[in-house]
């Protein structure tokens, strides 16, 4: 799919700029240009496809759907799935949480959405596709959705409503399924397309800097971290490596764009894939800034339980990945 791009960058770096083939600088530049452009193209395509899904299933309609139907367990899958396809912004997690509670959606289902949303999003998918390939990306996405479902289901079973902060609990007690129908826009696909294009471009524009910085850091690390570096110091194969990686990751926060190029270096330098992925999910999915945001709606105890359950599920998927790809 990207042969043409590789040829183009070859020409640009070696012919037009006249850099020698095989030098450190020229290969780093080649790597950076090729990866960045490839990932930006993928990012645009993915956001564009998600834009189409969102035009027909905006989050308001998802809420409406989840609050009205009895779905016999399928609601966990749907919440998690929509968490994956809805463009994610950490600043939206609180309004979304309250909105779901207000709509009478069970807490566990809301958690399923909340867990998957940062883990599987447009930026993460584009970067995984560009750096690890299609098969891996699909497994990652599926794993993220399952992880959200499992965490949500466990949290749902724990009956945690009493641990919401007072004013949110009041909302929860008064919650009712929205009766009003979501206005269905009569516009056709072709009429919507310009909006979808414009929105996709604006999302790409808003993350392009992070993506480039992330790839740049990754490219620099490739050059400076020697083969087997982590293995030598971290005993990366030890059984406790996965939980250790996740626990180290939770206090760190970076978005997917920043951390995926780094874990690609981890993998290239000898840390097992599952351990690296678990680290990445800990960084992206759980963080202290997020905990501070959630403090407005949850008591500390609930935040601790939420983080604990999700941490356990991330550790489980770390082992799972190591087992599948080991």
């Amino acid at each position: 799919m990207f042969n043409w791009l590789e040829k183009g960058i070859d020409w640009l770096v070696y012919q037009l700029m006249g850099l020698p083939v095989g030098s450190h600088f020229s290969s780093a530049l080649h790597f950076f240009l090729y990866d960045s452009i490839k990932i930006l193209i993928l990012l645009f395509l993915i956001i564009w496809m998600m834009g189409i899904v969102n035009a027909y299933f905006p989050v308001e309609r998802v809420r409406h759907f989840l609050s009205r139907k009895k779905l016999y367990g399928l609601e966990y899958f749907l919440a998690s799935f929509f968490g994956a396809v809805t463009p994610f912004c950490s600043c939206s997690s609180v309004p979304l949480f309250i909105g779901f509670v207000k709509g009478g959606i069970p807490l566990g289902v809301t958690f399923a959405f909340l867990v998957t949303s940062p883990l599987v999003n447009e930026v993460a998918l584009a970067m995984f596709l560009g750096m690890f390939g299609l098969k891996f990306t699909l497994i990652y996405a599926l794993n993220g959705i399952l992880l959200g479902m499992l965490s949500g289901w466990i949290l749902g079973k724990m009956k945690l409503e009493p641990y919401l902060t007072d004013w949110v609990r009041e909302i929860w007690e008064k919650a009712e399924a929205e009766q009003r129908n979501i206005e269905t826009s009569p516009r056709s696909f072709w009429q919507r397309l310009p909006d979808i294009n414009r929105e996709a471009l604006s999302i790409v524009k808003s993350v392009v800097l992070y993506v480039l910085v992330g790839i740049g850091i990754g490219a620099a690390m490739h050059g400076y971290v020697p083969e087997g570096f982590f293995e030598r110091y971290l005993q990366a194969g030890a059984w406790y490596a996965v939980p250790l990686a996740v626990i180290l990751a939770v206090p760190i926060y970076a978005n997917a764009a920043g951390v995926i190029p780094v874990i690609q270096v981890f993998v290239a330098k000898g840390i097992p894939l599952g351990t690296s992925i678990a680290f990445m999910m800990g960084v992206v999915g759980l963080s202290l800034p997020e905990a501070t945001l959630l403090k407005k709606v949850m008591t500390l105890k609930l935040i601790a339980i939420f983080f604990g359950v999700v941490t356990l599920c991330i550790i489980l998927s770390g082992y799972l990945f190591n087992w599948i790809f080991g």
Binding site: V59, E60, R63, P87, C89, S90, C91, S92, V94, P95, L96, I98, G99, F100, K102, W167, R198, E199, S202, I203, S206, L293, K296, V297
Partner: protein, 82 residues
């Protein structure tokens, strides 16, 4: 006078939205009072699920994203006539 509220808990996107709204309003010379609402309870009164949002005279016009300049100009031109 128009009343414009920007709803957002203080993330980068919300700040960008506020800056853009202020700039466009000034450029178009609209007589408007612009407010940034950061309190989550007040934000939730507008029944939105994602921020940032732009509310003009009590009606949510944009939610969940930073509007682009052209879109905002069209929107403000419409309310100016109303």
């Amino acid at each position: 006078m128009k009343n414009i509220k920007i709803l957002g808990t203080g993330c980068i996107k919300c700040k960008r939205t506020e800056e853009l709204v202020r700039r466009v309003v000034e450029e178009m010379g609209i007589d408007a009072q612009i407010e940034k609402v950061e309190d989550i309870r007040q934000i939730m009164e507008y029944n939105i699920l994602s921020t940032p949002a732009v509310v003009i005279d009590g009606i949510v016009k944009i939610k969940g994203r930073v509007p682009d300049r052209h879109e905002l100009e069209t929107l403000l031109a419409d309310v100016q006539l109303a």
